[in-house]
């Protein structure tokens, strides 16, 4: 597939046909090129990270993926497992990975962020969520600290001020947890009022 070097290319992973259609449209209307696949395995195949090859080989034009957005709950391979595989790859570990889930489960969110997810979006995904994603792709900062404190986004009217979050004890770089300058690059959580189980 021909990718205009100006346009960002997003790999979307979701086993739900309906969600794939919606996320694809959300991304396209936000001027992104989209490849939508229905499983983690297919995503790895697309990236060239499946078992056949250890890393992406340049058999033709180099594959340019600017962001991976994946559902968490998927059969066979969860979004978390896919995230891990991407972060283990020397070729793709710098690509921002965003996790989506219909369930607002704090330990799950923490685990994903600790594994290097750029953000965690509570479904259903909205236009304002995608706007935020574009910010990650624009800056594409290398070596973002994995233990920045989660920040809260008020951009969407569905977000709710959460209780204060304690950080895990790990070495973190010089920037203070609440530095305003790195808002865009910090892992951000969104809590939805309507999401209850």
């Amino acid at each position: 597939m021909e990718t205009n070097s100006e346009e960002v290319h997003v790999l979307a992973v979701d086993d739900s046909l309906i969600d794939r259609k919606v996320i694809e449209r959300l991304l396209k209307i936000s001027a992104c090129k989209v490849t939508a696949v229905d499983s983690g395995i297919r995503a790895l195949q697309f990236l060239g990270l499946d078992e056949q090859r250890e890393n992406s080989e340049s058999d033709g034009s180099p594959l340019k993926v600017d962001l991976v957005i994946t559902d968490y709950c998927m059969p066979e391979m969860t979004g978390y497992e896919l995230l891990k595989k991407i972060k283990e790859s020397s070729t793709f570990k710098e690509i921002p990975v965003v996790i989506m889930s219909s369930e607002n489960v704090l330990p799950r969110i923490d685990r994903c962020l600790e594994e290097g997810a750029k953000d965690f979006i509570i479904k259903p995904v909205k236009l304002c969520d995608v706007k935020r994603l574009k910010g990650y792709m624009a800056t594409r900062e290398v070596g973002v600290a994995i233990n920045n404190k989660p920040k809260l986004e008020e951009a969407c009217k569905h977000s709710l001020s959460p209780p204060s979050i304690s950080s895990s004890s790990s070495p973190s770089p010089s920037s203070s947890p609440l530095s305003v300058s790195s808002v865009i690059d910090s892992p951000i959580r969104r809590f939805k009022m309507t999401d209850t189980e």
């Binding site: 739900s16 046909l17 309906i18 969600d19 259609k21 919606v22 449209r25 959300l26 209307i29 709950c73 219909s102 479904k123 259903p124 995904v125 909205k126 236009l127 569905h158 309507t194 209850t196 189980e197």
Partner: protein, 149 residues
């Protein structure tokens, strides 16, 4: 054509007011434009197909002996997810209750919930079909006005 517009607007407003639809449906409407003029109908058609399949699966699963609550819960989870994605609020809410009964392995509760789910789904589908019908009538009326010129 004014009365058609009014009918459409009122019907749509009622669907939101009565909780059939929530903000996510508005999101879908925002995604529809000249490059994707039938987006909402396409998504909702997918939703209808998916839901009918899941409702059938849940119905059959509840008839099995013994009942596999985990499997039914998986169906309810999927139905809840797709309902949330398209803004089908009432259907989504019933799915939430359904999942609780599955977790509690409460067969009677599950059966009641399925009935409620089928009812809510039916109401939603009929209301949406009417909405789409009005939209189509407006489109057709618009076209005939143009050709008359």
């Amino acid at each position: 054509m004014d009365h058609l517009h009014r009918k459409l607007r009122d019907h749509e407003a009622a669907m939101f007011q009565q909780g059939y639809l929530d903000d996510q449906f508005s999101q879908l409407q925002k995604l529809q434009d000249d490059t994707s003029p039938d987006f909402v109908i396409e998504v909702m058609t997918m939703f209808f197909d998916d839901s009918e399949k899941l409702l059938n699966n849940m119905s059959r699963a509840l008839e099995q002996v013994p009942v596999n609550f985990k499997q039914i819960d998986a169906h309810a989870h999927q139905q809840k997810g797709s309902s949330a994605s398209v803004g089908a609020a009432r259907v989504k809410n019933v799915c939430g209750t359904f999942r609780n009964f599955c977790e509690a392995q409460n067969l009677e509760g599950c059966v009641r919930c399925l009935q409620q789910l089928q009812q809510e789904y039916s109401l939603l589908k009929n209301n949406l079909k009417y909405l789409f019908k009005l939209q189509q009538e407006i489109k057709t009326a618009g076209r005939s006005i143009h050709t008359r010129g």
